[in-house]
Symmetry: D3
Subunit: 278 residues, 6 copies
């Protein structure tokens, strides 16, 4: 497990438990054992099975875990996802934190799966964006992959994307791409965002590796794809609804990026049933 995920779990538990669970610590004997069962309350692509084990293990390192599903599985409403046997106090204290993670991540994966299904078997990739919840990017991008899409860059450090602000600063698409070619690390491609056909031509001429068509309408995109003519990868972005996906794929674009996959997924419903061990 990545060290920043470990810190995130720790701070999530700290914000919930703080100096102590005043209810549980006063009502439940620390030596008492229990069984906790996480169940899907609606159908979903589940994500967070091993994460939930990590969370409960922070509170009871000796907890026993019996997984019924893996991350990325489709789970029907009413199915058990994973079962824990361990300290009853640990189960009661960790329940909400474990569910908060799983509900959000499974919500993302479930939404992604519904998008991916629209363009199954077509030669186009669905990818996410950097519009993620602060502190959760690593996990949310993992959920996107579990849903069946790919990740765009993780952050500003592992991909070059020249946006309108950069273009304005450099004096034009061509100038920006050329300036970048002199300095860019040789393992990174150069992507540039274009808003019209003239900028598209400029990007091709300057040798951009990937061209992002930003907020163009269908006919502009069609023309842009023709202008680029396989000399660069084509990405489209900007307020793309699920119903438009197939139409975009038919245009011959290579990549469709959608912020809503992470920023507007709703949580799906999971619950944890906890009872004292007999």
């Amino acid at each position: 497990m990545n060290s920043s995920v470990r810190q995130l779990i720790q701070s999530a538990l700290d914000e919930d438990i703080g100096p102590g669970d005043v209810t549980t610590e006063n009502l439940v004997d620390p030596d008492r054992m229990g069984i906790g069962t996480i169940m899907a309350k609606e159908s979903m692509v589940v994500v967070g099975v091993s994460l939930s084990r990590e969370i409960i293990s922070f509170l009871d390192p000796g907890v026993k875990v019996r997984p019924f599903h893996e991350d990325g599985h489709w789970v029907n409403s009413g199915e058990i996802v994973v079962e824990f046997q361990g300290s009853l106090q640990a189960l009661l204290k960790g329940e909400r934190t474990a569910l908060n993670f799983m509900q959000r991540l499974s919500g993302i994966a479930t939404l992604v799966r519904s998008y991916v299904n629209e363009i199954k078997d077509m030669p186009v990739h669905l990818v996410d964006t950097r519009k993620t919840t602060p502190g959760l990017r690593f996990l949310e991008k993992y959920a996107v992959r579990m849903g069946g899409a790919l990740n765009h860059r993780m952050g500003l450090y592992d991909g070059i994307l020249i946006k309108d602000n950069h273009i304005q600063t450099c004096g034009g698409v061509g100038q920006a791409v050329n300036r970048m070619k002199e300095k860019a690390p040789h393992l990174l491609k150069i992507e540039v965002e274009v808003a019209n056909i003239d900028q598209t031509k400029e990007a091709v001429a300057a040798g951009a590796d990937v061209i992002m068509l930003d907020n163009m309408n269908i006919s502009e995109m069609e023309e842009a794809v023709a202008v680029i003519n396989k000399r660069a990868l084509v990405e489209v972005s900007g307020n793309i609804s699920r119903s438009k996906l197939k139409q975009l794929a038919d245009l011959g674009v290579d990549i469709i990026s959608i912020g809503a996959l992470t920023h507007s997924a709703r949580s799906v419903d999971l619950s944890m049933n906890i009872k004292p061990a007999v």
Copy 2:
């Protein structure tokens, strides 16, 4: 600013920028100044004005900020929320992180406001739950207050809530409440969750301060309110839609708690326009 919020901002910037913004650092002179303007792209209750200042200040401690709105204000689509003057690199690097926070928090406050408006001037309080995004609870609960609702407990440490699992462990509602009364810190009230009228009677008899009616139907709730008869505060909880709020308020309950306020709010749309200073 709370130290855990400072850490959250730092880790959000770290996850986005990592060892450096490879695009901006290669295209924009570090001495160049810029102007950044955050604008609402739809109507909303805005949250995060001073938080965005903190974020940009991490990257440029000397940035100048001109706020046009305060947290909790209703802002119409197209209105400017806040303007920054400072390092162009800092604006480009901090943009996404600032927007990711504001879009989520404003989304929560906007949803909360729409709920609160349903029960305006009625003697009932709308409150949130612990179903928050891991690591963001403090901020999400702040957004709830900006939307016009109140907070339930912050975590397991600042409020007593005896749930079904605790009741099962103690052998009944009465036993659980009585055991807690011997041990509870004298500044905390005792809330207990009940599932039927018998448990409600037991809770009243044992002297619970607050009684949560969990997933009861309307007629059960009506009976429970009558049974309690002002001897305890009454809270209702569980899958409550906006359209049912007024009906619940009419029953005479004191508190309505809704997880969806935080776990199923969608992000609202804000953008940051950045340009070089002339």
Copy 3:
């Protein structure tokens, strides 16, 4: 174990050992095993048995521990509290840190026990205050419980206490309590500090849940208890010596809070005998 306690142990070991124990590392072979025995050098309520295990385990994760007493036990002078078998270097390096914790915590519990014995079987609770050693509050409040008293609030976040400064800011006891009632989380009671009978009446009229009589003399307290007449819990506070406890309890107050339990306890004497394993 709570994560802030883990950090406290780590920083305590760091401040004592720093880059290395220059004596032990030069004189004792790292592979050599040893036996360490913690013994009470005076009679006491012992606290820190499992904490000492955590401390030694930081230095030797494989150490074997044999406890002879539990936290809260009365231990006579000369009795063994706990025995460790493990790395001789680890025992020598951890000795002082383990003892520093135990001597202070056991000192608090022992003092608390002597206070509690004064009012045994009377319907009044002895509680601590926030006058704890910076960084050690969680542990010192644990020691108070092991001594037989209860905890007042852990900090400013889990209990409402309106003090003279707040009253002055709000314009009076009644105004402060009323303002708080509109905003207070519904799981917290409202306590207010009063200095005379007029303020006491105001507090009762405004509906305070708990009333703290601050530095009143006996006859004032008697009158205040009569005025309150069970309509709120009564707490007394301020320079209360052990010899006055019974007299206060006889007045019919519910809670007596005493800062000296934590801020003026002296350390009790424990030692650790360490010898090489044969």
Copy 4:
């Protein structure tokens, strides 16, 4: 300010304030200014004037500070020590943490001063031990210096002290000292603890720089001082009361170390008067 002191202040504020001061934040407007005055409630050697400034500055970086005394000054009961002007919320939130530090540190310095006065102008040094509160050693040893004594080693890393456990491991005083001489960093003296006259002779013969007479009675100490005869510094240690100090100094020892200076000092009384600025 040392980075570990900064962390200590942060964690002390975190443990007291947590996610927020529920009383102050609901009753006091964040923009309201106030004046806070720290006053001695008994006569004392005051310690913590600049530390209290650091603490309040964590909460209000713009606070104005007016010191009336410096650390180490003798302050009479009723005198003002330092005055703050700043955010009223910051004063109310920081009050307890600032006082908790000052009361403990001033208590130590006041106790130390009373010991030092016993042996004023005599050729002997009073020093502390490692029996300090976990996490506070740096500050408590600072308080000892402010009281007028000197510090023994800060920790295990900046001084060599061969104790009975080490001697037993090495097979004798002579063997231990000789083994250490081969390996010790050349800037550190070698101190060895001895329990009787034979061990004292062995220590002198092996060339120890400092010899600690552990729990010897007066006549043994007299003989040991004579045996050592200025060939090493002489330190005495172990259950030394204030009344015995002069007698020990008369024996001709060089250093007297006393654990009670830090582990058994009681807190002295300081209060902070806070009122809204007019």
Copy 5:
């Protein structure tokens, strides 16, 4: 300044100063001011001017800095690089840490400059590797840029490099490249390491973007360049001495990567002259 650099400075100061500079604190009055001048004791490409300011500022936030050179400048022996005016204690405490950073980073830049000069104006890029000092990668790669070379990937996360171990696991060069093409983020190029002409052909056929010729001799490299024939970028690596650089460049390779730039640079000599201000 990047947050991990800030942490590195803090830990470097902590490891040198620990609980205090026992010499300076006992000999120099804390209020005394001083002047510190950093001078080159040999000719070099200097790196660390602003870093040294950050270091001294940790100890005296009010220090005044007068830089005579910028990072990347050639400085002759005897020239002053930067001058500080501030707390004399801060200068004495920060001196060694500031110099330790500057000597190492300037040593790297100076070595890099001598390599770069060998292939000036030739169409080839000199780059570093991941063979950097643990904890210092960010700064050492910065020093490489200041010396005039470019950076290879920062770490395992921002560039794809398929090495012999990966090839062996996947069953061959072609299989590895093809498998990666299905999964690689679309903004990253695919580099593969080859050991002979057959593997080179396989890499070209599979469509690798960059091909690294690992430890080939001159004639093999010549053949490989011909085989690749501009269809991929060519990188050479492995025990490359400065004297062989021009010969390699003449072969038509695009990138030369050299671990020695960071792992075998010696420190250059800089000193800091400190004197009390008059």
Copy 6:
């Protein structure tokens, strides 16, 4: 393992792996096991055997380790140092970090050994300085000991060294030493740096314990040793090459300190062979 070493390993892994090894994670199945063998590519004093185990264990806590050599051993080119069996992903991710540590530390130890061999069996100690890599001091000083030399002070906190700057501030060698004698902790010796014979005499007269002859020529050193005449330890320092060591030892000095041991050691060559387990 010291907690600051643990943090250093964590930050070294973080800087290399960041959010993930994009090559390995896409090409190697997480369940696949592998064998990694670290081999010396040149003859060396090896350091880092157990450190490399710690590093790989961070990534795979269950890895099995088979060491063939211990730290401080002389290893011939081609010999295997240590073998790991564990997760193939963990081996591939940890390889570079483990080697970066070992190459640097073994480089130091190998250089130190070659210096120590020059003065074998002579009554003089070779020691390091504080000219270490920021963040690595603890490990580099450990490597110095493994090479066969001793450590000078670890930092400013565990040894007194009065340098020219301090002398200038105090008004002379005698004044500085005398002032220090009043304040120095009684377990620390007092070392003072002298530049000429007059200062040497002053240092002896004032009773310095150790005298450092700074940048003196041979005849000056000879005179200084005679002047001191065993009344203090004699240390020489400043640009000392290996070839001059024996001559210095013959002069009768006690300690020779050399910054180059740590600041100018080159990395030695080690490699890790990794293959899938069959």
